[in-house]
């Protein structure tokens, strides 16, 4: 029996003919249909959910971290400021003098390059401290000039001798400081096959220049990165009863 006589079996030649014939039509149809898409943008409404970084931390991570860490730190110091108010009979209670903070900078010790977020994190923390009126922050330009003039690295300022030199220099510039503030971003990664969880921690360290004593406040946020929608769904529902 020849191949063409066998029912239900596609002859190789017929297969090739059928395969080749519509090829140019398919190409022409695609050519007629497809155009290059353009890029569009829109202004997001206040309070609208922002985008979530699919490969690394973005605003969804840093905004809550900054809000949480700064709020906790300030709350604690508001309480201590209230306790320090002196009461003199017959006189108006005087608020304690506002402490001056020198916000040295944000250090990125996480596994990710944070790029342009670093400046934004600095500005967000600085602005919140200034708004709180618990502390008065030294203008960043003075801080930068101080570091440049003294050629001290931010991490060297905690050495007593360097701290004294820096404080004295800032005093000379008319910018006395009571505290140094450091912000550090760290991360920890837990791998589960191709998915992974990354825990981000923003730590604020407040060092009193006079005594060297320090206060510390952290905020933490965990984020899961998944290679498929199914992986994300599974992770979201695995903890539910």
């Amino acid at each position: 029996m020849s191949r063409v006589d066998r029912p239900g079996r596609l002859d190789r030649r017929t297969f090739l003919r059928r395969g080749l014939k519509p090829l140019p039509l398919a190409v022409l149809a695609t050519a007629a249909a497809g155009c290059r898409s353009m890029q569009f943008a829109r202004v997001m409404a206040p309070g609208e959910d922002g985008m979530i970084g699919s490969h690394q931390a973005g605003q969804e991570t840093f905004t809550p971290l900054v809000n949480d860490a700064v709020a906790k730190l300030l709350a604690r110091h508001v309480e201590s400021a209230v306790q320090q108010v002196a009461y003199v009979e017959g006189a108006e209670p005087l608020p304690p003098p506002t402490k001056r903070i020198c916000f040295v900078g944000v250090e990125n010790k996480s596994a990710e390059e944070i790029g342009d977020f670093k400046e934004q994190i600095y500005q967000a923390i600085d602005a919140r401290i200034l708004e709180s009126q618990v502390f008065q922050s030294v203008n960043r330009r003075f801080v930068d000039a101080g570091l440049r003039d003294t050629r001290l690295r931010p991490d060297q300022l905690l050495i007593p001798e360097h701290m004294r030199a820096f404080t004295a220099h800032m005093d000379q510039q008319g910018q006395p400081i009571d505290y140094l503030l450091y912000a550090t971003i760290t991360s920890g990664t837990t791998q589960q096959n191709r998915d992974y969880q990354r825990d981000y921690v923003l730590t604020l360290e407040l060092v009193e220049v006079g005594t060297g004593s320090y206060d510390k406040q952290s905020a933490e946020l965990s984020k899961g990165y998944h290679h498929s929608r199914l992986g994300r769904w599974r992770a979201a529902h695995s903890s539910s009863p």
Binding site: R13, L20, P24, V27, A31, R36, G105, N108
Partner: protein
């Protein structure tokens, strides 16, 4: 209704039109390259002007023109052109289905040119350099863009099976280097600087200054009190270009496949007589080797390669070659299929009309030319030298050297103002006859 003879005539005319073709981009741009490398900026600019008037490849010509403007001491003009070209390339980056389909019927030259991956990264790096040669206000943003572009290109090539053909790409170490020196200058973000210099040492292990930069960012300071830093950037030699290469083994295999299919189909297919042509990146670095820098009587050092553009371009092309070849084979399949479809439609099996259609098919295939479009005035290497100098005004003596260390052209003296704790920048372009134009010093 169209007659068989009319259709046949139409096919032949179309094939003849396709076959007429035109000179490839690289052939047309060769005189520009030659004029520029011998230091004749005016002639290079005039030739580019002429090409622009013919209305071909605006973005690429803008890139070349920016390099001419930079050599001519007009960094602001160069930056404007680079920005315009970058935006133009970005606009056509997303693949158009229509263009892709048409490229299957003609060749890759009908697709809008979005730039090779190394060009997309280098346009941003050049933007950073041109900006640093002025006030440096946007250099930080450009340096971030270079790193981001590099990351995006690799991430976008990830395949569903987890492989990534671009993962093996040689990365542009100039990108983290720029970021490192800018972050270091803040006297605050040494952690960023160290992170970037670590990338430099990993991506360009033979860059001897790398470990010193890393050590300084990890435990030192930007400069001693009362001192500043001059960064000398040298764009050295002829950059890579694309030449048309014939893929003989693939063409032979296709010819055999044609014969097998012709026997199977009992109808001839146009034989693969015209070889498959692909663009191959060619390095022709030229005579220039490095730049020797002196301050007064002090021989301060020589610039050292941080990014070898030609090497990187060749490696990137090697990584993507199987994809380019696959597209060329697919194009031939579509063309053969089209001829076969016409024959089937007209009921041709053999005879003179069938032979005529096969000949038209061969001519159609022969009309393909390799897409040799590229940024033709890139340098072969980007080199750097860091000098720490006391604050004040210094005259730097720059002398171009050939590969064998012999002087190349005349030395040039350039005055640079160094500010306490700050960076200053000096940018020079070196060709076969020494400096192309004059080195540009930033104004702090």
């Amino acid at each position: 209704m169209i007659s068989r003879a009319g259709l046949l005539r139409g096919c032949c005319i179309a094939a003849a039109l396709f076959a007429s073709g035109c000179a490839t981009h690289m052939v047309r741009l060769q005189p520009v390259r030659t004029a520029f490398q011998r230091g004749d900026i005016t002639e290079a600019d005039r030739l580019i002007d002429h090409e622009i008037e013919t209305g071909s490849e605006d973005n690429l010509l803008l890139l070349d023109r920016a390099m001419v403007a930079l050599a001519d001491g007009r960094p602001a003009d160069a930056e404007r052109m680079l920005r315009q070209a970058r935006d133009g390339l970005d606009r056509v980056e997303e693949e158009s289905q229509a263009e892709t389909a048409w490229s299957m019927l003609a060749d890759d030259q009908v697709r809008a040119y979005a730039g090779e991956d190394y060009e997309k990264v280098l346009v941003r790096a050049m933007l950073a350099l041109t900006n640093l040669a002025q006030d440096g206000d946007d250099a930080e943003a450009y340096s971030l863009q270079v790193i981001d572009a590099q990351r995006r290109i690799v991430a976008a090539a990830a395949q569903p099976d987890g492989t990534n053909p671009k993962a093996a790409y040689q990365q542009v170490a100039l990108a983290p280097y720029l970021r490192g020196i800018l972050r270091e200058e803040t006297h605050r973000d040494y952690d960023d600087a160290a992170r970037n210099f670590r990338l430099v040492t990993a991506w360009q292990p033979d860059f001897r200054q790398g470990p010193f930069h890393l050590a300084r960012a990890t435990g030192g300071t930007h400069s001693r009190p009362g001192h500043g830093v001059v960064h000398v950037f040298a764009l050295v030699g002829h950059g890579p270009f694309k030449a048309e290469a014939e893929e003989v083994p693939t063409s032979t295999s296709l010819l055999i496949a044609d014969q097998i299919l012709s026997t199977q189909l009992r109808s001839t297919l146009p034989p693969t007589i015209a070889p498959i042509k692909l663009p191959r990146i060619v390095a022709a670095p030229g005579a220039a080797g490095t730049v020797q820098v002196g301050v007064g009587d002090w021989a301060a050092g020589q610039t050292e390669t941080i990014t070898s553009v030609s090497q990187m371009a060749i490696r990137q092309q090697e990584a993507m070659l199987p994809w380019q070849l696959a597209r060329a084979v697919a194009r031939r399949t579509v063309k053969k299929g089209t001829v076969f479809g016409v024959k089937q439609g007209l009921g041709m099996q053999d005879g003179l009309p069938s032979v005529a259609l096969d000949l038209a098919g061969v001519a159609w295939e022969a009309s393909e030319a390799a897409d040799t479009r590229c940024w033709s005035l890139l340098p072969d290497r980007i080199q750097v030298l860091r000098l720490e100098l006391p604050a004040g005004t210094h005259t730097l003596a720059l002398r171009p050297l050939a590969h064998d260390g012999q002087p190349l052209g005349e030395p040039v003296a350039r005055s640079v103002t160094v500010c306490d704790g700050r960076n200053s920048y000096l940018l020079a372009r070196v060709g076969d006859a020494g400096f192309i134009g004059g080195p540009i010093a930033s104004s702090p």
